[in-house]
Symmetry: C2
Subunit: 386 residues, 2 copies
């Protein structure tokens, strides 16, 4: 049976036709006036979504390049950083810092748990000599479906001079984040998540303190050097050739976000998250993430005893056209993950749950068809009734 | 007057509709079977175009990231490299190496001249203690319109253990290059040039010696680490999210190259180069590049006395819809550059020359309308008569 694919992974996310079609515009001179006009519009839109000031740095890169840029630009060899890690992407951030010769102190939590603001506060209070130069923090941990309490952590950092560097790859544009108001120094983002555009851009928002640190940092860098970007800000240009199709897409995506309104976008993601969680729990499945810290962009679900993640994903994909992600790292065989960020609607969640019920059933796991869908429907109906 | 734009800059180049439309395919799971199939086809096509063996490394990145990867993966702090530079991009390659803490010895030529294989041979012969660990070389210097004699340089390197690292960003797919046969250790390329696809990919081909060097190199790296890519080769995957639209484009571009045939592609570029040079010279303009080393992908033309590069480019663009590039670095006010690589036809060259004649004339420079076009037509007619 020929069918459309429903892409429910935590990125790259479904790219709406409006954005795909914006990407088909002809190539332009990236040093010419057409690009400059696009540059201004994109920067303005990004400032709103990041809650940031000034121009942002936009690299042709995967999201991981944004993390490397967040490390390479702000430190010098031997600097100590505190890496708060609750999963695969927190570990990656820490590993990058280690590769670049920083002294990395890891503050880890069991996978499925969120970072603890009090623990971070205590560690910073102990650091009387102000040795810690930076805090690496994942806003939304895609591997475990946990959203860290970013705002609280930013609050407990106040008074300590360490830079707060935030991996917001899978949160920005879905979970509330206000770079300037919350005092985030560096926010690194990829394009292929809630921004709804294809992979190929990494974006960095910097605070004035971060710009200052970049001037003093001595780690080796060229491609990621934010100062080379700053030199081009006033020309509305970039030091190296920009990924023009993704810029076209980003411009269109930012227009879509403005039309829906950022608060409505956040509310929609909260609804999608709640529907998903209610649905899978109604099927008797359990969630990896601790209550109260569950992400509204991705849900990690434990597979039922005796089920194989790979087989479940295969049936979902081949029989029902629903693509979900497997587990990552040590969770590879324990969880599957449903992404619900970007251009996703409540109806997509209902379809996904319906497919999940059928797939589990066909694999011999006892589920009552319709229970997951009904639970999610109730959430939706309740939300609409408000 | 509404008119189509003729993009005659040395990249990003015109993207043919067939490729634009390939990019509009829906997003897929980059860890799924659809991506794996595309991965295999793309790798096979790239092997042909690079004349390389094994899998290539494909980064979401600008071309400059490919140069950074070529430096960061193969050396250790303090290693000596010989940077052969004849313009802006040679200088950039050298600067990256300096930023990463290598000892960089520059072998420069006056801008407009090509690298001299004999000079390189002499320098290598002097290096009896084999201190030089790498040679950084630009195949085609976009800023001056010079094509370096890559094959001859590769020959004089034989017998010296230094790795030969080639920036082929603006040559690959237009000028002949055979990585394996010629003994090139690393070939770095961008997507937005002769490959006809939008910017956003950097590609690295590695020799077995380069892979060996990567295992021993101690420069800091994470995003660019080729070993992380190698780990994913057998899964037909990439360590970080690939720029999927550019992959779609690359697959389509490689199909187009296969249909035209690589020898025919090279021949077409040779024709475009000769037509352009004959045309501008027939208008009394002079070329920056020395005879015998003029590039078939970009022509740098000295502006006539009294003319301003900016004004000439503006008239070409606004009145005739032809976009050419200005000079770079110290040549900013001295030359303009016509790109003729990728999906460019002889008719595009004739249009460009016709517009150039009109623009020069309207700016008060004495040209005989039609002379440039006629000279290029003769080249074309002669080629067809063969």
């Amino acid at each position: 049976m020929q069918q459309n694919q429903l892409l429910m992974i935590p990125g790259p996310t479904y790219v709406p036709p409006r954005i795909l079609s914006a990407m088909s515009a002809p190539m332009i001179n990236h040093r010419g006036p057409e690009f400059q006009a696009m540059y201004r519009e994109v920067q303005e839109g990004l400032r709103t979504v990041f809650g940031a000031q000034g121009d942002l740095v936009i690299y042709p890169s995967a999201g991981t390049g944004g993390l490397e840029a967040a490390v390479a630009n702000f430190f010098s060899p031997g600097d100590r950083v505190l890496a708060v890690t609750v999963g695969v992407f927190g570990d990656r951030f820490a590993t990058i810092a280690e590769r670049f010769g920083l002294q990395v102190e890891r503050l880890t939590e069991e996978w499925g748990r969120a970072a603890d603001p009090d623990r971070i506060a205590r560690r910073l209070a102990e650091d009387r000599t102000r040795e810690i130069k930076g805090i690496l923090l994942t806003h939304n941990e895609t591997s475990t479906g946990v959203a860290n309490p970013l705002r609280e952590i930013a609050r407990v950092r106040e008074g300590h001079p360490a830079l707060l560097l935030v991996d917001a790859v899978s949160s920005l544009g879905a979970l509330e984040l206000k770079a300037q108001e919350w005092g985030l120094d560096v926010v690194a983002v990829g394009s292929q998540k809630a921004l709804m555009i294809p992979p190929g851009l990494a974006i960095l928002a910097l605070s004035p303190r971060a710009w200052q640190a970049a001037e003093e940092a001595r780690l080796p860098r060229f491609y990621w050097d934010v100062l080379a970007y700053r030199k081009n800000f006033e020309k509305q240009s970039t030091p190296y050739t920009p990924a023009v199709p993704q810029w076209y897409a980003l411009r269109e995506a930012l227009r879509m976000v403005a039309e829906e309104g950022l608060p409505a976008v956040y509310e929609r993601h909260a609804l999608l998250g709640e529907m998903t969680r209610s649905g899978v729990q109604a099927l008797g499945l359990s969630l990896l993430a601790e209550a109260g810290r569950r992400s509204d962009t991705v849900t990690a679900v434990r597979v039922p005893p005796g089920a194989a993640v790979g087989r479940l994903r295969q049936v979902l994909r081949e029989d029902y056209g629903v693509v979900v992600a497997g587990g990552q790292g040590k969770l590879a065989e324990e969880v599957f993950r449903i992404g619900h960020l970007g251009c996703i609607s409540p109806m997509d969640i209902l379809s996904t749950l319906a497919a999940l019920e059928l797939a589990l059933s066909s694999l011999g796991h006892p589920v009552h068809l319709g229970d997951g869908v009904a639970a999610a429907q109730k959430v939706l109906a309740g939300r609409k009734a408000r």
